[in-house]
Amino acid sequence: MTNEIIEQIPECVRFNDEDAQALIRNKDVLLTLEDGLVEGFYNSVYSYSVTRAVFTDDERAAREQTLRDWYRRTLNGPFDDAYWQWQTFVGLVHIKRKVNNAMVSGMWGWILTYLSSNALEHLEANEAKAVIKALHSLQAAVMALISESYQRNMFVAVDKASGIKEALLMRLVNIEIDGMLDDARANGTG
């Protein structure tokens, strides 16, 4: 499933070997940003009640460690099948803990801003550009895996539980969407 999802992204913009090399080549500088990344990330999610509510009382140290491990594994490469499958797995782990895609996507935005501004500050311009491009492509790939794999797993589960296949479920959804679009057009909001 992982490869099939990644292959939906146009090849010319997909995370590629050049991106992998850009991250690995600059890993020494990027690793110096680890403490700031982990602290800033968790300060953000702990300072907002909705994301704070995800965590149990004594969880922060363990969560900081998982983010650290993720960052190190990412900067060390390789970006092989096992890496992408792990990203899909991490997505499912989040869903089990009620961390939704809006939360993850929002925090990816923060990670990109934090790492990009530091890359511009600490790296030579061309290297900074390559790193920023790599991070954006990485984020796109990971979000694609998380959101699509969730949807596909949901389709499998609905079929198993109710006998309603993906194509039929999509049809039911589309019928409702058509109605919503008609309403929006009639109300002048679409």
């Binding site: 539980a161 109710s162 006998g163 309603i164 296949k165 194509a167 039929l168 049809r171 039911l172 019928i175």
Partner: protein, 121 residues
């Protein structure tokens, strides 16, 4: 005769044989209407929910050990919808009044489902 003609004929004959029936729908298991005499504005949804009910009926049969699913019935105050598997990838649904000759409706509808199965496989 094309398959579509065959299906239209089955639909028409079913209506002729059982005047109580007020709508016939042959739909794919993806919920697409294949042949029907339901009003156009109802057909899209009836096709989709008939396929959904059939899928759910199958699962209930499996999980409650009911054996091969034969029929799904939804009964409302003003009428009922009977749904049959009609081949590997299609369903047949008929709408009838709740106080009609249900025996005849069932007999003819399930034999029409067999006819559809012959056409669509």
């Amino acid at each position: 005769m094309s398959k579509q003609d065959d299906l239209n004929k089955i639909t028409k004959e079913l209506r002729m044989n059982v005047p109580d029936i007020s709508g016939v729908m042959i739909a794919s298991d993806e919920g697409l209407s294949i042949a029907t005499d339901f009003a156009e504005e109802d057909a899209v949804r009836v096709a989709a929910v008939s396929a959904a009910a059939s899928g759910l009926g199958n699962r209930i049969s499996q999980n409650a050990s009911l054996g091969e699913p034969e029929e799904v019935m939804v009964k409302g105050r003003d009428g009922l919808l009977l749904i049959y598997l009609a081949g590997d990838n299609s369903v047949l649904a008929v709408r009838a009044p709740s106080r009609g000759n249900l025996g005849l409706v069932r007999l003819e509808a399930s034999s029409a489902a067999q006819e559809v199965r012959k056409v669509l496989g």
